[in-house]
Symmetry: C2
Subunit: 266 residues, 2 copies
């Protein structure tokens, strides 16, 4: 996944093509490092999110330190707006999710990122617009920011080491957002374009070829063990799920080994 480009779907020239206009807004409160803003922008675009807002960033925005870590997510950086306080940044949004691992002793639902993603999609279906707030790198959100939010979002991480990097926290929220509507098959038993799964006649032909040669060289002895040995060998090849091409390749391997054997015997 790192450092690669997808060619599985039709290539798109514009990274913004994958964006979802109804996606949640990501709001970073008092972010300290431009690098984290850039990495968060990259993570957002990875997940089809593009709308980022900053509340009182520690360094003035635009911040050149964000550019390289964004790895080309310029469409996100270009759209960033800066706000005086949290209330100003969330005024047009309908439901706010506060990311935290700290127990706030507030009467508020706490959701996993997965449950929060489903909840955000429901909110959008109902005509609302969700936003997710992330606190400053060193200490997270303060209680006043949390009191403006509807839902706490907490990832069930290693309880002894649960503090995520800011951009990593953004990635988890964005990833679950994307996965909540993803239709990709969980497991895709991909075949090369130039082949297909072997049919049973091809597979059995290969078995009989192999077994004939193994009879010939005396491997399948003593006779009373022959049926078990054959079953074990057949099971082993069944599990491999061979393609038609692989069956032909393996029949070549058998013939090759036999020829070597015969040559040695001469």
């Amino acid at each position: 996944m790192a450092g690669t480009n997808s060619t599985r779907r039709p290539p798109k020239t514009d990274a913004a093509n994958g964006l979802d206009a109804h996606a949640p807004v990501i709001i970073l409160i008092e972010p300290q490092l431009g690098e984290n803003i850039g990495m968060a922008a990259r993570a957002m675009l990875n997940c089809g999110l593009s709308s980022m807002r900053l509340v009182k960033p520690v360094h003035p925005w635009p911040n050149e330190h964000a550019i390289k870590p964004s790895a080309g997510a310029q469409v996100v950086l270009d759209g960033i707006t800066v706000h005086e306080d949290t209330a100003a940044a969330i005024g047009d949004l309908s439901r706010i999710y506060a990311t935290t691992t700290r127990d706030r002793d507030m009467t508020k639902p706490v959701m996993t990122p997965r449950a929060a993603a489903a909840d955000m999609r429901r909110e959008i279906t109902e005509g609302g617009r969700p936003g997710v707030i992330f606190g400053r790198e060193a200490w997270g959100l303060n209680n006043d920011d949390v009191s403006l939010s509807d839902v706490l979002v907490s990832a069930p991480l290693n309880p002894g080491f649960s503090s995520l990097n800011l951009a990593q926290a953004v990635l988890l929220v964005g990833y679950e957002w994307l996965m909540a509507s993803d239709q990709t098959p969980a497991i895709d038993n991909r075949l090369s374009a130039d082949t297909r799964p072997a049919d049973k006649a091809e597979l059995i032909g290969m078995f009989e070829h192999l077994e004939a040669e193994l009879d010939d060289c005396g491997f399948l002895r003593p006779p009373e063990k022959r049926p078990t040995m054959i079953r074990n060998i057949r099971n082993m090849f069944q599990r491999a799920g061979l393609t038609e091409q692989e069956v032909r390749t393996f029949r070549g391997v058998i013939s090759g080994l036999v020829r070597t054997h015969e040559r040695k015997r001469d």
Copy 2:
């Protein structure tokens, strides 16, 4: 989630307490930046993973640039081993997952990180040990490395911008690994420790208090609209899911407003 510490579960003094001895091994092939190794180590420990191996890192290991980005994940850095090639790094492992977004035209199952996590847990149950390989930042895995793997892992990201930062890719794999066995309730309607949900008698008492005052000040007019107005107000407060403490607070609010009103009237 960023920059915070969990106090929801009993505090643990040792980050390693949350580690899973049977967890998959993370293998970075030719990693270029010490910062990424450090961030990957942090992401691993966030997810309870501790075993990292490096194949031919571009800079010698140990690399001081990894320390600060690891944010204290020293237990992971200390355990890192360095290997000459991929085969040497995976020799003791039973099933290898290659992270990639590139179509390899190889006959191999392609799994989402979520499906791969379930597959890894099955592998461990059967007595095997899984490993996940990640390619170099700039170009990912080469085909020789992929040919040593059993499964391709590909996250269904924005097809126009699918290249994840190395540490972000490690986080997604680790996060799904953790979530595959997580028992955290998806939604926890947390209450403050010093209160409980209001019972219906308390809520109805509040309704009647409010409605008596609204009758008194002439708000619930004309009389033929009164039933509808009352139902709307009651529905609004029902949705808020008030606690016993909040019912008392709101009855105080009603009384306070009435007193102000009466004072003004004097």
